[in-house]
């Protein structure tokens, strides 16, 4: 034989693939196994990816959030009116014309029922002053109008409207004894704010008996480099007793427990499932080798090398795994990408509405995953194929 190994590999692998239809049963089981593993893997992790995307889309790199020292979330913070005034006057905060980009806000939750389950959920209600709109670049009212100060009017985030009952523009909703009119719907670059309801801070102070107090300040700094100076200026005054954090840092802190939890469940789950799929793949490939015993022996007798024979088995396994991986990714994409759910973010004790996000990075991970399954599943059977004793195998009549 004067073929080189490369052409031997090519010939045998091609022959192998052409024969797959003859072993359709076991091959489809292997494909199906890999598809399921990759599908579940991507579906679970797309939840984490979507959650993270919603949380991080909200942040801007030169916005700081100021809360009472030690507060773990906006909900547990509290600032007096005087504090908010004094902090806003510290140099370093950006001005837009005459308006100081510093927004004192209230953050509470209200019970509204979820559309999907009709059970009550903690929906964020944020009380804001005009500066709030200037601090957030991506904020935009897309339906209706903004609320009028001094009135019981609400504007609702796009995601909140999708997920919770009674939030259509024009409808009224009752919190306790006060009725609120939903007058507008807003977008905020797909960020966390879209899970919230907004109203006039003064009205909310009265409704929640908060006197003239606020909870947080969101402020835009003149440049991200100002952060340390600003922090130092705030820390220098013992009256304040507050923490200054970058909004992006705050949000990633808030999303960490949930993301960690999903990944902590998702990865081990995928590993275990992969183990199952590997067993399936090994069985399939052993079957493939044993049904081809005579064929392999014949090839060897004709002068084909052991390595090309082994490689062809490995190759077959990889092809099956890739096909499975592709099917799994596609199914996960079409079933889950953009699927909207909401969960209670425990850190802020309020609902976050987010979409499952099947990102290219996840698909890549899924494909790598499939390749690993295919490789391990094909390796041992490939070794067996290479080691088949030619003479006995030719005699095999199975």
């Amino acid at each position: 034989m004067n073929f080189n190994w490369l052409s031997q590999i090519f010939i045998i692998s091609l022959m192998n693939l052409r024969n797959i239809p003859q072993r359709w049963g076991t091959s489809s089981v292997a494909i199906f196994g890999v598809a399921c593993v990759v599908g579940v893997f991507i579906a679970v992790l797309s939840m984490a990816a979507g959650f993270q995307r919603t949380m991080s889309n909200a942040g801007s790199p030169n916005t700081v959030i100021i809360m009472r020292a030690g507060a773990t979330s906006e909900m547990s913070s509290g600032l007096s009116y005087e504090q908010t005034q004094l902090i806003s006057s510290i140099p370093g905060i950006l001005k837009d014309g005459d308006q100081l980009l510093s927004s004192a806000e209230l953050f509470v939750v209200v019970d509204i029922s979820k559309k999907s389950t009709n059970t009550s959920a903690n929906v964020s209600l944020r009380g804001v002053m005009p500066a709030a709109f200037a601090v957030r670049d991506k904020f935009k009212i897309v339906e209706g109008r903004n609320f009028e100060p001094g009135k019981n009017e609400l504007i609702v985030g796009r995601s909140a409207q999708k997920q919770f009952n009674d939030l259509a523009v024009g409808s009224t909703i009752k919190f306790g004894q006060t009725e609120w009119r939903v007058v507008g719907m807003f977008e905020s670059g797909g960020g966390l704010a879209e899970s919230e309801l907004w109203c006039d801070a003064k009205i909310l102070q009265a409704a929640y008996r908060r006197g003239n107090s606020f909870q947080t300040i969101r402020a835009k700094l003149e440049s991200p480099g100002m952060l340390e100076d600003f922090k130092a200026a705030v820390a220098a005054d013992p009256k304040f007793n507050v923490d200054v954090k970058l909004e992006t840092a705050y949000l990633s802190e808030q999303s960490a427990p949930m993301t960690k939890f999903i990944m902590g469940v998702g990865y081990p789950l995928a590993m275990l499932m992969a183990l199952g799929a590997i067993f399936g793949a090994i069985n399939t490939m052993y079957t493939s080798v044993s049904t081809r015993t005579r064929e392999i022996a014949t090839l060897r007798a004709l002068g084909f090398g052991a390595f090309p024979v082994a490689f062809s088995t490995l190759f077959e396994s990889l092809v099956l795994a890739f096909v499975g991986g592709a099917i799994g990714s596609l199914v996960a994409y079409f079933l889950f990408n953009g699927y909207t759910v909401s969960t209670l973010n425990f850190a802020s004790f309020s609902q976050v509405v987010f979409d499952f996000a099947v990102t290219p990075a996840l698909v890549k991970q899924g494909v790598i995953f499939a390749a690993v399954i295919g490789f391990i599943g094909g390796l041992f059977p490939a070794i067996r194929a290479a080691r088949l004793p030619v003479a006995t195998a030719l005699r095999d009549n199975g």
């Binding site: 076991t26 399921c36 059970t119 499932m273 067993f279």
Partner: protein
Amino acid sequence: MKYLYFIFKNLTRKKVRTSLTILSIMVAFLLFGLLRSLSAAFDGGAEIAGEDRLVTIHKVSIIQPLPQSYLAKVQALPGVEKATMANWFGGYYQEQKNQFAQFPVLADDYFDIYKDLIKLPPAQLENWKKNRVGAVIGRALVDKYHWKIGDRIPLIGMFPQKNGSTTWEFVIEGVFDAKTEGADTSGMLFHYDYFDKSRQFGEGTVGWLIIKVKDPKQSAQVAAVVDALFENSFAETKTNSEKDFAKSFAKQFGDIGLITTLILGAVFFTMLLVAGNTMAQSFRERIPEFAILKTLGFSDITVMLMVLCESIVVCVFGGVLGLLLAKIIITGAAVDFAATLPGLGMSWKIMTSGLLLVILLGLITGAAPAIQGLRLNIIGALRRN
């Protein structure tokens, strides 16, 4: 017995294949055990919540406080055996990641109302009552932070004290244990009086009321009476059974049950196919042998039962291994998760339903080959060789 030996011999003929099949079934049931336990832990609060306890919160949202005066009014209602109150404290120890639940409560009343779930040695209760800044902690907290009685624990809370500080000091005076499996012992309880008199704002309010009704059958009526009592006041209430309260709270996280069922469905379907296919194939290869058995005088039914037995043995072996492994992992993880997911544990209910599924899986995977074995035509099968 001789059949069992025969089955065993058959199984050990292709050891690699049999072990791979067993392993994949093991993985499926390991996942079953883990996911079911996880999902049960999310609904755990609802599982053990008392039927005779009601929870009253502010109608607008749970974060809104209720006037403390509501407690006496509720206590005076007919049908109410006892009522008490609690508040959220939202503190953490040293670092933000060390968050756990703390509630300011009325010592005697709280342990009386929850006497079916948690217990505190009487001597510790007495000591605790004598110490204004005393606190009692659950067993899970002891396991996590290794605190002991007498330790001074500073916590950073969301409530500032009158002097503006958010650091509160507590002295551990006792440790309470769970009475029922799954009861939450990941929290800390301290005196409401200390909390209320020291905080900067909100004095004289409570977070929620816990009501024990005289007759569990009248829970709904009592709840309605409580809510009617405060209707049209500035703080209207929403009263539910503790079970519903826990259930609806669990639902806030999303439909964990549905998600786990979907994943399990995918896993099971895959494993069923993988294991079933392998077993079916092994039977196909042995058809001539079955024909010989029949020729030797084994009845149709015996051959069928043998095939069925073989698949059940494989499934039971793998399934039980997986369930036991899950039990071990969950028991190990329960300590680490005690604070975040109290009540994580693999109950006997999960174990039993797992075992039933194992047998079902064995029956399903063995069914097709078993029927084949039953209908096997000796002449035809022998000729196939």
